[in-house]
Structure formats: structure tokens, C-alpha cells
Chain length 342, copies 2
Amino acid sequence: MVLENDLLLRVARGEKTERTPVWLMRQAGRILPEYRAVRERLSGFVELVQTPELAAAVTIQPVDILEVDAAIIFSDILVIPEAMGLAYEMAEKKGPFFPETIKTEEQAERLRTVVPEEDLAYVIEAIKITKKELNGRVPLIGFAGAPWTIFCYMVEGQGSKTFSKARAMLYKNPDLAIRLLNKITESTVRYLKAQIKAGADLVQLFDSWAGILPPDLYQQFSLTFIEKVCQAIDEVPFTVFAKGAYFARKAIGKLPCQTVGLDWNMDIAESRELVGMDKTLQGNLDPCVLYGSYDQIKKATQNMLDQFGPYRHIANLGHGVYPDTDPDKVRCFIDTVKTHSF
Amino acid sequence: MVLENDLLLRVARGEKTERTPVWLMRQAGRILPEYRAVRERLSGFVELVQTPELAAAVTIQPVDILEVDAAIIFSDILVIPEAMGLAYEMAEKKGPFFPETIKTEEQAERLRTVVPEEDLAYVIEAIKITKKELNGRVPLIGFAGAPWTIFCYMVEGQGSKTFSKARAMLYKNPDLAIRLLNKITESTVRYLKAQIKAGADLVQLFDSWAGILPPDLYQQFSLTFIEKVCQAIDEVPFTVFAKGAYFARKAIGKLPCQTVGLDWNMDIAESRELVGMDKTLQGNLDPCVLYGSYDQIKKATQNMLDQFGPYRHIANLGHGVYPDTDPDKVRCFIDTVKTHSF
């Protein structure tokens, strides 16, 4: 199917476009009252993730309501550990919790390598429904967590300021860490390929906990595996977003991916220099700007656009939109990108 | 009183010394069984902070037991908001919690400017007792939170992954933010001066939440106030530790301070280049290394020392020592610094 609006894909491929495309991390879920109306009818977040019709519906909401240039499938990076055999619970306001965590070789051995069409059929189905209902309006983004970030949750069992248990394993038992990372990597590649087969037009890897490793360990225990995923996916454009990995920008610029996400701490000009000229950059407005006035939002967005320049930039926030953001302010951000970059 | 071991102060002042001094952030408290024995007799952390004899006792423990080259007064950065009028509770494993947070000009207006000899007499007394009992063995480090980090707690009310409420105020009401930051700054200067008067031989400012601001906001809402504190303190050497503020290393290198702390994400050679040659650097072993084997700890510590070089370096971790670290492993780190840098 030919897309009516393929700005995102053209920019990701390095083409010059008539304006800068824009979408928001976490645009599906969280901020829209229409999302909350769907969510309230269900027992919890996980039920919504696992109900394809509803996941598709909330995926499309921001396309209808906010007029973003891309949809991103409503899901969670933790579907992978769950499909591998480690179930999680999503406690409201407290984040994910894994009753069982990986401590031994035997536990790692018992984990399944995911067969997405079976183990994650609900995501694949949600993508198919979304593609059908989007009917070519905008591209659909698929995603997964980077192996290191998934590893963090599987070893730590929950969110943490330091992820010291997960990091400890890199020193205490690096062989087990690498075995587990390889297993996650293989499942992730299969999962992304299945998303693409089902219709995802671009895929993004989220390395949410990239920023907690020293540079040498990040290379060894994260980038190595991100690279394997990049190398395995050549069907569609690929985005790497390694939050906090400022020290790895040069190395990320050498990955076989098309787009590199920047968080709001990262200086735009410096990042362009480190990443190099042959990647598209995505980001990176401070999500807190959207708590400001319309005037502040317009100015900060224009300033960001001017710094990135007109080409090879996908406008986004530097992290997921915060739950208590006013959708009208989000709309202001989106409209400013559309008019200012034209 | 002449110090028997003044390595820390000589290195902070830029002198070449016979070996590299070593201490650990959070060395007082957390890891030693002798600390836990004191702690268990009390109702909680805050009681220990507010009981000078006991605070002094746990301050000296690591000097006796681990043979570090400096003591750091056992206290908490949150004594400042408390003394200004915002009481906090310390929930075990959950961190600090403020029942009241600052939302309005009126609330900010009501906050006291601290008179340390009265409002924080318990810290001043603990320093005096510590100095007496240390009897010149090693220098005593005093400390405070950087104004931005204290602001984060006073506005957010608790620890947070994003501190989005605190950051929101920078956009929504920058005038209130600056008024509050100035008030915190004045109290902090008075507090550090009182610590020095009571006997602190060096003071350190901890900007724990430096890493959550975009570079321009960090300059405006944090560095500006750190600089004011630095400028006001010229009695003893001054250390700035801005965790996560990789983007500000060049600017921090220009502050009127003697020592700059590095976290474990920061590349040593790059940091030296950015900070410049006329500052002492402090840090920055990954605290997780201490979960490794003795052999791993020795190698990683030696590697770190070699990267910093023999002068203008104070060996430390890149963050506070983690609570479940084996004191024997800490001892291995300390001994390696002492022998390898000799």
C-alpha cells in the first residue's frame, strides 16, 4: 500500500523533504482522555497491551487527534521477557515488577527463544489491525527494548535508580550475562522481523538504561548486541535511541542504522558532529517544555528546529511525553514543527 | 592542629604527593556492620543524623576500620530544607519524602534563611566532636547539596526518575524558581561556612540531580548558584560533584573550585581535557566493580589510577558505595590505591 504521508520514512532514508516529520514517544497512551476512556474499561495496562483491537485503537488515536506523522504500536518493551518465560506485573505508578528474576545459568537455559507469531500473536495481530485501519495515512513504527535494557529488568526485577544487581552480574558472571544477552537478542530480532512482516514501516530500539554503564561496559554489553539486531534487520529503516549514552554517540553513529534518537540532555550540534552526517537524528525537546506556555513551546520548538536544520531530522521529544501533559500543548508542539519547518 | 595525614588537602590544592589519597562517598553508613549496630539502636536515619555523638562515631568508623584518607561527616543533604522549614521523612528503602512541597511565592517567602549554629546545631556539634576524636589523623570533609538538587526535593517532594514537577517550575514560573534557588544558596553558604568554622577541612557540593536538565537550563538554574557558593567559600578547598552533568564539564572546569568529581560514566581522559589541567579530579570507579572478585577490583582500580595519572587525583568511586557491598572488597579497593599509586 502506498502511504499518503511517508515523510518519516523518506527522512529516515536520508531524503530531503518538504518539511520535518513529527511524532512523540509515548504518544499512544498516557496523555489523551480518549486513551484513558479505553484504559478504564480494562483490568490493567497488560490487558490493554494483550487485546489487539484495543491496542490498535489507542495506537491510532494520536494520528486522528494530534495529527502526528507516524503511529507507534501501543505495546511495551517487557512483552519480550514475558514471552521468554518471565511474566511481569505492571503496578500503577510503581512500574513493572518481575516476581522471578534471572540469577543462574539454569534459569537462563530455561528461557524460551520467542516465536513471535505464537508467543506474541497479540502484538502481531494489533499491528495488522492498525495497518488496516490506518489505511495508508501515516507509517506505523514497531519497536522493542534493546537487549541491555531488557536484561536490566530480567536481572533486577523492577525499575531501579542504579540497576546495581543487573550491573553486578557483568562483573560477577559475565559469561551468564552474555548468554542471556544473546538469548534476548535472538528473540528481539525475531520479534522485530515479525512486526515488519505484519506491517511495521520502521522499527525503533529503546535502550532506556543505556546511561548507567561505564563507556567500556556499554560497548561490551549493550552496543555489541544492538549492532547484532541492526545487522539482522534490513527490511525497513531502523532507529536506535540510547537514552543517556552520551559517551557512545560516536559509536552509535557507526551502527548500521538509519536514525539515532537524542535525549534532551544532548547538545544538538555536538551530537551531529559525533554521530556524523549520514544518519538522521530524532528528538529532542525537553518534555518539560510542554508544561510551559504556548509561547514558550513555540519558541523552544522553533529553536530546536533551527538547531537541527531542515533535513535529516525527525522532530520528537527527548523522552516519552509525561503523563500529565495537556494534549493542547502537545498539539502546539506538533503544529509548530509543521509550520516552522515548512 | 597539624594533620598527620593531609594528603587529601595537598592534592586538592594541586600539590604533588607521595601517593594518591582515597576515600569513598557514603563510606560513613550503609556498608559497615559497626554502623548498622549503631543504627539499629535508634528509631531511624534522621535520629542518627541529629544525635551528634553518634553521628561523630559513625563518621570515624571508616577511618578506623577501612583506613581511608579522609572522614566525611555523617549527615544528609536534606538537613537544609528541613532547617529552612520543610521537614522530611526518611522511609526505609523508599528514600526521602516531604509532606509539604513548594508551589507558591508565599510558601517560598515563609522559608527561613538558615542560622546554622541554631537550626543545624546538631551537625556543627557532630563536626566538633569528630574533629576532637579524629585528633588530627585525617582531614574531615563537610558537605551540602547543590542548590538545584535541594530545589528538586523541595518542589518534587521525593525522589523521582524525571523530577518533572521540579523541572516544570523552571518553565512555568522561572521567577519563583530563581527566588527559591537564591534562598537555598544563601542558606547553603552559611551552612558550609559554619561547617568550616567548626573544623571541616574541605567541603563538597553534591549536585545529585545535575543530569536531568538540558545544558542551557543547567547553566541557568544550577551552575549559576553553584558558582555563587564557590565564590563565597575561600577558607578551604572546595569540591563540586555534579552527577550526570557530562555536558557541563567544561563550565565546571571554570568554577572557582579546586576539585571536580567525576561519575563512573565519564571518560577520564576526555574529562581531564574538558575540565582542564588546573583542577584536581575525584573519582570514578564504577561502584559495581566492588561486587567483582578481588582480582577484578585490583585490576580495575589499577587501570583507573593509570588513567588519572599520579597527580591531581583523589581516588573514589563514581557514586556512593552501594549498601550491599562487602567491606572487605572496599578494603581491597583502598589498599590497591595505596600500594599502586605509591
